[in-house]
């Protein structure tokens, strides 16, 4: 066996060892995460909500989040009386799995039971929430790629101009709809949930400021401005005021939250 052959064999083995090790670690990690998840589920079933919440939260902090993890954690919060955190978790789960009927129905019933249902939802919102932000984005990207490929095909295999224009116009129309969906859903993505019971809306961002309204736990709000440890918010009923940073939880990471390079 030549030196070259030996070197090739060594490199191949090294490659497989590294890949195998990586896959093994991943699988082990996944297996560990699954075990923790099932343990938390058992604690929930047994009514040990504090333990269930602790395990779910630990899993989310170390391994990441999934729709099921957010949903189960929210169920635990809801049973524990933490309505705000439960709503935030369900909203988070919906971002990851917009089509999951379990999550959507549970969230709706929770809101209904706690007087948090929005009385009037605009048609625009109803249409936009048919899909999640990432689904609208993926659909828009798919359309863009499809348009590019169709144009490429038409370059090599010319088709009638009418057909080409019709397909392009159709794609552009769908793309515009998708972008509108992305815009609306991104605005929803930036919302936060009140997690403290009966939070006061203050007229100024400091502790001694006068209160104008009480905002219920679990209510969705939009963050307008942040000043020190206070945020200026408004909700779907047009109420506006400052609340402490500890009294709300953002649903998801937004562009503004991402670390700047």
């Amino acid at each position: 066996m030549t030196v070259h052959s030996r070197l090739s064999l060594f490199l191949s083995l090294l490659f497989f060892v590294v890949i195998g090790g990586f896959c093994g670690l991943c699988l082990a990690g996944e297996s560990n995460s699954n075990e923790q998840f099932l343990a938390a589920n058992q604690a929930y079933e047994a009514g040990d909500l504090a333990t269930a919440i602790e395990i779910y939260e630990s899993l989310a902090a170390h391994a990441g989040v999934s729709a099921s993890l957010c949903y189960n954690l929210s169920n635990s919060y809801a049973r524990n009386g933490q309505i705000g955190k439960a709503v935030a978790g369900y909203e988070r789960a919906l971002l990851l799995a917009p089509g999951d009927k379990d999550i959507r129905t549970t969230l709706q019933l929770l809101r209904q039971d706690n007087g948090l249902l929005t009385e009037h939802i605009s048609v625009r919102q109803q249409l936009a929430t048919l899909l999640g932000l990432n689904q609208w984005t993926a659909l828009a990207a798919f359309l863009l790629v499809a348009m590019a490929l169709l144009q490429l095909a038409a370059w090599f295999f010319p088709v009638a101009a009418k057909v080409s224009w019709s397909v392009t116009a159709g794609c552009l129309l769908l793309l515009a709809i998708c972008l509108a969906g992305v815009l609306v859903q991104y605005q929803n993505w930036q919302q936060a949930v009140i997690i403290s019971p009966e939070t006061s809306l203050l007229i100024s961002p400091f502790a001694g400021a006068e209160s104008t309204h009480i905002i219920e736990e679990g209510r969705l709000v939009r963050i307008m401005k942040v000043h020190n440890n206070y945020a200026l918010i408004n909700d779907d009923q047009g109420r506006r005021g400052w609340i402490p940073g500890s009294s709300f939880e953002r649903i998801a990471v937004t562009m503004a939250d991402q670390p700047k390079p």
Binding site: E30, S33, F37, N41, E45, G47, L49, A63, G64, V65, S66, A67, S68, Y71, N72, N75, A78, R79, N80, G81, I83, L95, L96, D102, I103, T105, T106, L109, L110, D113, N114, G115, L116, L133, N134, T137, A138, A141, L144, V145, M147, A148, Q151, L152, W155, V182, Y186, W189, E198, E210, S211, T212, H213, I214, E216, E217, G238, A252, V253, Q258
Partner: protein, 627 residues
């Protein structure tokens, strides 16, 4: 003597007559001289405002003449020259007619002040005559001062009386009325707003109530908003309300003041005929009279411990359902607070004896009444008795501060008796929650009247979950991701989109280029000629460097055929020397080269490298010129 006296009297009479005649003669001459100066100049009106104009009239009496030139006066502008001719007939023993020619100008001023129009030279029968100088007073435009006063009459705000002394957080109903003179064309640009600090104005209804009222026997259209003021800062505060509006007012800008007998400028026939009036939009801010309100702090003395900030006048109703329960069963307590006050800050009433009861967070629903601050707020709260010995729900208490009496008041409901389930079999048809659940965990739904869901897919019963309407747990973890971030923030997604966009743009540009070429065949031909020429020139250079005369001349011939073929729209191979002779001039170098190349094709030829270089240069130059 008598004769002497008579003669003296006669002399005196004749002298007096002479003096009288002479006096009359001089007077008549003076009158004639005064009544008919050759040129007169007048300004009507002699004084005017900056936003108005006047008429300058130069009249030439009983003669023909013309104005030599108009003086230039800084700040004054003379425009729109007009002329008129008038005839005046004098009837009497010496009847005569007098002609006068008038020239009129409109005079505008650019700024207020006193201006002098210098003597204006007029040519009369070849002689230069000067008019008198005129002094004119220009006053500032009276628009602003007048308009402000006028607008106060046209539109104003009135606020319903508000208590001068009120408490912190107390709701003060207020009615804001905007009055607009009947027939005035106005539009609102904003909702009423509060000027001043220490108070907030709850959002008044977007659509105001529209009525009509008479104020000092003048009819006004009235827009009324109902809102409520609430003091948020102790102390004395000066407040007023304001609203933005636009009024359409008759325009008086550059309004002409003309005499009624002015034949040219006096009447705007068309404006009168069509009844049109120039209007201008004026944006105004209508501000109400200032109010001084005192905000008092809530008294500390005798403040009930359960006081949570409610200020007003309220009534309390409490209901519980079901009242037939077993140990650990949830009871929905419905507490209705109704009346007038700051409902936004009202929190749920509390149990007077909370010990032995587990209470959950109440939900609240506010139903507004007819007037601001009026309404009812319904709280629904789930409670569970921790012990089985509870026979009644304790009294519910609600404390508030009554600003009318200046005291705290506490409302207390009656205790509600509870019955065990076995005691009243008739009520068993009522929907009740399950008895089997563990009361330590789980949050009860306020409307605890629905039957619980029985079991999940595995047949495992989840009593708490059923009561909370929660779905079953997910058993699969699913794919984990470190963060919930939008797809478009991921690099891979951005690369895919960028590539697609680049591809689309490139293809679009290419298609545009093709379509441009298709639309312009000359351009396409030119491009083709250039490409072919470059190819042949390369071939010529290559063969010249190899010294291959035969192929060099063949390349020259082919280059000429291709370029001329494209130019003449014929087949290149069909082009012969005869065609060249027909189309080109006799002394054209291409003729010689083409002939040499044709001869070489049949009989061959020899050429020096210098000749080949000359031929190549000539061919290139001539063929490039063809384009």
């Amino acid at each position: 003597m008598e004769r002497l006296v008579k003669n003296r009297h006669r002399c005196l009479r004749s002298g007096r007559l002479t003096v009288l005649c002479l006096t009359l003669l001089f007077m008549s001459l003076a009158t004639v001289a005064e009544s008919a100066p050759p040129v007169t100049v007048t300004l009507d009106p002699p004084s005017f405002a900056v936003d108005q104009s006047a008429i300058l009239t130069i009249t030439i009496n009983d003669a023909r003449g013309s104005i030599a030139e108009l003086p230039e006066v800084d700040g004054l502008l003379f425009q729109n020259q007009r002329q008129s001719r008038q005839q005046q007939i004098v009837i009497g023993p010496h009847s005569s007619s007098v002609y006068s020619f008038s020239t009129m100008f409109e005079v505008y001023a650019s700024r207020p002040g006193t201006f002098t129009i210098p003597p204006i030279p007029v040519m009369i029968d070849g002689q230069r005559v000067l008019t008198e100088a005129l002094t004119v007073e220009i006053t500032p435009a009276a628009e602003d001062s007048q308009t402000t006063a006028d607008i106060e009459q046209l539109a104003f705000l009135r606020i319903s009386p508000v208590k001068e002394e009120n408490y912190l957080g107390e709701l003060l109903p207020v009615e804001i009325k905007a009055y607009f003179r009947q027939g005035l064309r106005a539009s609102l640009n904003s909702q009423p707003r509060l000027n001043g600090e220490g108070f907030v104005l709850t959002q008044p209804a977007e659509q105001p109530l529209q009525t009509q009222e008479m104020v000092n026997n003048i009819p006004y259209a009235v827009l009324a908003w109902s809102g409520a003021l609430s003091g948020i800062k102790e102390g004395k505060h000066a407040l007023s309300f304001a609203i933005d509006a636009s009024l359409l007012l008759p325009s008086n800008n550059r309004q002409r003041r003309r005499s009624t007998n002015d034949p040219f400028f006096g009447n705007d026939i068309f404006a009168e005929f069509f009844n049109q009036q120039q209007v201008q939009e004026k944006k105004i801010q209508i501000v109400s009279k200032e109010m001084n309100l005192q905000v008092l702090p809530l008294p500390v003395e005798a403040r009930p411990p359960d006081f949570q900030g409610a200020i007003g006048s309220f009534a309390l109703q409490v209901q519980a359902q079901p009242v037939e329960v077993g140990p650990g069963d949830p009871i929905t307590l419905t507490m209705t607070v109704e009346g007038t006050g700051n409902f936004e800050l009202i929190k749920a009433p509390v149990l007077s004896e909370a010990e032995g009861w587990k209470s959950y967070q109440p939900s609240a629903k506010f139903t507004p009444g007819a007037r601001p601050g009026q309404g009812s707020k319904v709280f629904e709260q789930a409670i569970i008795a921790k012990n089985s010995d509870k026979t009644a729900i304790p009294a519910v208490v609600f404390s508030f501060f009554n600003p009318e009496s200046g005291t705290y008041q506490t409302l207390q409901s009656d205790p509600i008796a509870l019955h065990g389930q076995d005691q009243n079999p008739e009520d068993q048809g009522k929907p009740l929650v399950s008895h089997e659940h563990d009361s330590k965990v789980g949050r009860q739904q306020p409307k605890a009247t629905e039957a619980p869901e029985e079991a999940d897919n595995d047949g495992h019963k989840e009593p708490e979950t059923a009561m909370l309407n929660l779905g079953p747990l997910h058993v699969r973890l699913g794919a984990l991701q470190p963060q919930i971030t939008p797809l478009f923030t991921r690099l891979s997604f951005q690369i895919v989109v960028l590539l697609s966009v680049l591809l689309l743009v490139t293809l679009t540009l290419l298609k545009l280029r093709v379509s441009l070429r298709t639309a312009n065949p000359a351009l396409s031909r030119q491009q083709e000629m250039l490409c072919l020429l470059e190819l042949r020139l390369q071939e010529m250079k290559h063969t010249r460097e190899q010294g291959d005369v035969h192929n060099f001349l063949a390349a020259c011939r082919k280059a000429m055929q291709e370029q001329l073929g494209l130019l003449w729209q014929t087949e290149p191979e069909a082009i012969t020397l005869a065609d060249l002779r027909q189309h080109l001039a006799v002394e054209a170098p291409l003729l010689t080269i083409f002939a040499t190349a044709e001869n070489s094709a049949y009989i061959g030829s020899t050429m020096s490298s210098q000749e080949m270089a000359d031929y190549a240069a000539q061919v290139e130059r001539e063929l490039r010129q063809l384009r």
